[in-house]
Symmetry: C2
Subunit: 417 residues, 2 copies
């Protein structure tokens, strides 16, 4: 069973908005055994949308569209779908009621005709009720093909995918089970890793696919398989993992979670062992704290953090002695370690991580080369740090520092497992 995702909107084609909808939809289709054959982004243009629909219909079984369902004049998806199905738009009473109810509860302004028009749907469509917005989802069938149109607002699209689309697709199609297991591997380049596991890779059964996903500071090794017998699929993949693990014993650091977030591996372990975390950030500027607090349950282990961006704030907020800074430079092992130790005390946490460095593009309050970053880990029994140079691209320096800090945290909290 194969699907194509068509995302509609000029903002995608001029690069103003990154298409995050497709990855979300693809992930959820995959979970119920539907492969995504292609993702296509097209403009708010009738001729182009009609062509994309026709191409998709000839390639796949399920076509999911997002975008172009808003109340304004640039939103033409609904009219275009009606044309594709030789259909007309009719008012759906339940959708109109939903719009009126949302308007009454949240907007509290006069309901305009353009808003009422959002209740117009192709007569052949089954409405997928959007309980968190005014643009309805639509489900249409043409012979054995299914067409699903969803709003482009990520929040509304996600609710519809989870609550309506996935359950309905599961009902309609008999799908195989798809399994992806992703191993996190630190400290090996792509080709070195490939050479190390070559014999194992060459002996992989045809139906188990392997992919190397390089990322700043780490490699992800993804095994994928599918079949109708879930237990068999899981066992076969596990057998291969059992064979490869001894080859990367030192470099393997666990499995990536479903959403690809490494910080949740750390969060889960901290919660499990009942330890708390505090964070002192200079060059990473709050990005580490933000990563952890994105996920619910952070209050189980995260005491908090400081972003001591200016040199003076390291003195005022973290009580780093001015002479330590003067003697060693603000980008130094001594300052990183003092930051970690002092934030540990300030927040009364069990473990702390700190970053100080120069992300560039120009030198700041220190003489350190652009790209130099010190990362320290403090616990109640000690402190240590490492020095890195992450190059001269600001965004890359910050991201690499965040990844390396996560790696050092992960090593620390897993070292006694």
């Amino acid at each position: 069973m194969q699907a194509e995702i068509i995302t509609i909107g000029d903002e995608l084609l001029i690069g103003q908005v990154i298409d995050t909808n497709s990855a979300f939809i693809a992930k959820h289709l995959n979970k119920i055994g539907i492969s995504v054959y292609q993702i296509t982004s097209v403009q708010d243009d009738k001729v182009h949308i009609l062509k994309a629909l026709k191409d998709a219909e000839s390639n796949v079984d399920i076509i999911i569209l997002t975008g172009g369902l808003g109340p304004t004049k640039d939103d033409i998806t609904k009219k275009t779908i009606a044309e594709y199905f030789n259909d007309t738009l009719v008012q759906d009473i339940s959708v109109l009621e939903n719009i009126e109810s949302i308007w009454k509860q949240y907007v509290r302004q006069t309901l305009l005709q353009v808003n009422k028009d959002q209740a117009l749907v192709p007569s052949k469509a089954t409405v997928l009720m959007n309980t968190v917005g005014t643009a309805p989802g639509m489900w249409l069938e043409k012979e054995d093909k299914t067409f699903i149109s969803l709003p482009g607002v990520p929040f509304e699209m996600k609710a519809l995918i989870t609550n309506s689309v996935i359950p309905k697709l599961k009902d309609k199609y008999h799908c195989p089970f798809i399994l992806h297991k992703t191993l996190l591997v630190y400290g090996l380049g792509e080709s070195t890793l490939a050479a190390r596991i070559e014999t194992w890779e060459d002996a992989l059964p045809e139906h188990i696919k392997l992919a190397y996903l390089p990322s700043l500071g780490k490699m992800r090794l993804r095994l994928s398989s599918k079949g109708f017998d879930r237990k068999k699929v899981e066992e076969e993949v596990q057998q291969q993992i059992d064979k490869v693990l001894p080859l990367i014993k030192k470099e393997f650091f666990g499995y990536e979670d479903e959403d690809g977030n490494e910080e949740t591996v750390i969060a889960n372990q901290l919660t499990k062992i009942g330890k708390s975390l505090a964070i002192a950030e200079s060059c990473t500027g709050g990005k580490l704290a933000q990563l952890f607090t994105t996920h619910s349950g952070a209050s189980q282990y995260l005491k908090g953090g400081v972003v001591t961006y200016s040199t003076q704030s390291k003195i005022d907020v973290l009580n780093i002695p001015k002479d330590v800074i003067d003697a060693n430079s603000v980008v130094s092992a001594q300052v990183a370690e003092a930051m970690a130790q002092n934030v540990l005390k300030l927040y009364k946490s069990d473990i702390a991580v700190s970053t100080t460095g120069n992300a560039g593009p120009t030198k700041g309050d220190s003489n350190a080369e652009v790209g130099t970053v010190f990362i320290a880990i403090a616990t109640k029994i000690g402190v240590y740090s490492e020095e890195f140079n992450f190059g001269n691209n600001r965004a890359r320096v910050i991201n690499k520092a965040v990844n390396k800090a996560l790696e050092m945290l992960q090593k620390e909290i897993f070292k006694n497992r």
Copy 2:
């Protein structure tokens, strides 16, 4: 002149990786007057890649591919391009030298055959030297069409786009100037805004396109035009802006910067007026600080921030009196205002913003409903706060709180302009 972007990689089709390359490429093509007709993501599959190339060739002038150029077995783009061009792969000496040099400088391990093989390119291709990685870019021509193949690693792709692809495309094609101007509008829903400016919108010249881009807490109104006479294009768009601004006088808050970042509007203004900022975050967990520190020059105005996530840390780190918390709840106007005032003092800044709220999914240390957020602004002459309810989706609550905090900051620093 039209282009298609083809991104290659199973990781995109299973939703493991979000395609950020396309938006970057599209934005840069747009700047030199090349429109993107379509973005297509396909699997690491020869037949599919060949089909995508053929489709693109029939639709557009320029085809840009990313991905599938790594050293491992799942990377098949290069072989597939050679097949499409009835070509063979030959070793390029300059690429081999580049690989050896990178290896010597950064990897310091034995150069393997798979790495040397990265120097193989189709004989008809012009090499685009990748100075920051081992996979070369490739430029091929077929009659009047141009095919460009780039590595999928964003950092390497970006360097090649900026340093090689854009200059070469500018040389080859005579392109029109494309202009997008995006107005930030707060406090009006999409349809209310549309009704307000309807007469103006209906009178827009045919060649000036208007788009409504709703985002949490704000609307973006984008005007687009193109032409060979840059001055004329700019003047025409400006005339339309001059006409619409009086209609949204109270709600208009400036232009979005090129990368769509609102925080840079604030950053530039703070730098300009010589005021400094400090941030105290609870429910936004570091996201506000991180937004500002993403951009270079943050040290010009940002003193730093605290992430006082736990209730105890609000007492320990920000000196919020325990009885204020007990009397009002940790999610309250009083606590938000005390956080802003105290972080202002702690960091000796001119202005401070704070957030405290419950992002959910469960109630935390307060009885506040999930979604309740208080945001406060403190200056040396006073403090004020507002209460919001941002619904019950954690990610959405955090993002809305961040947007609202930016809006309040923006209002504060622009109010005396």
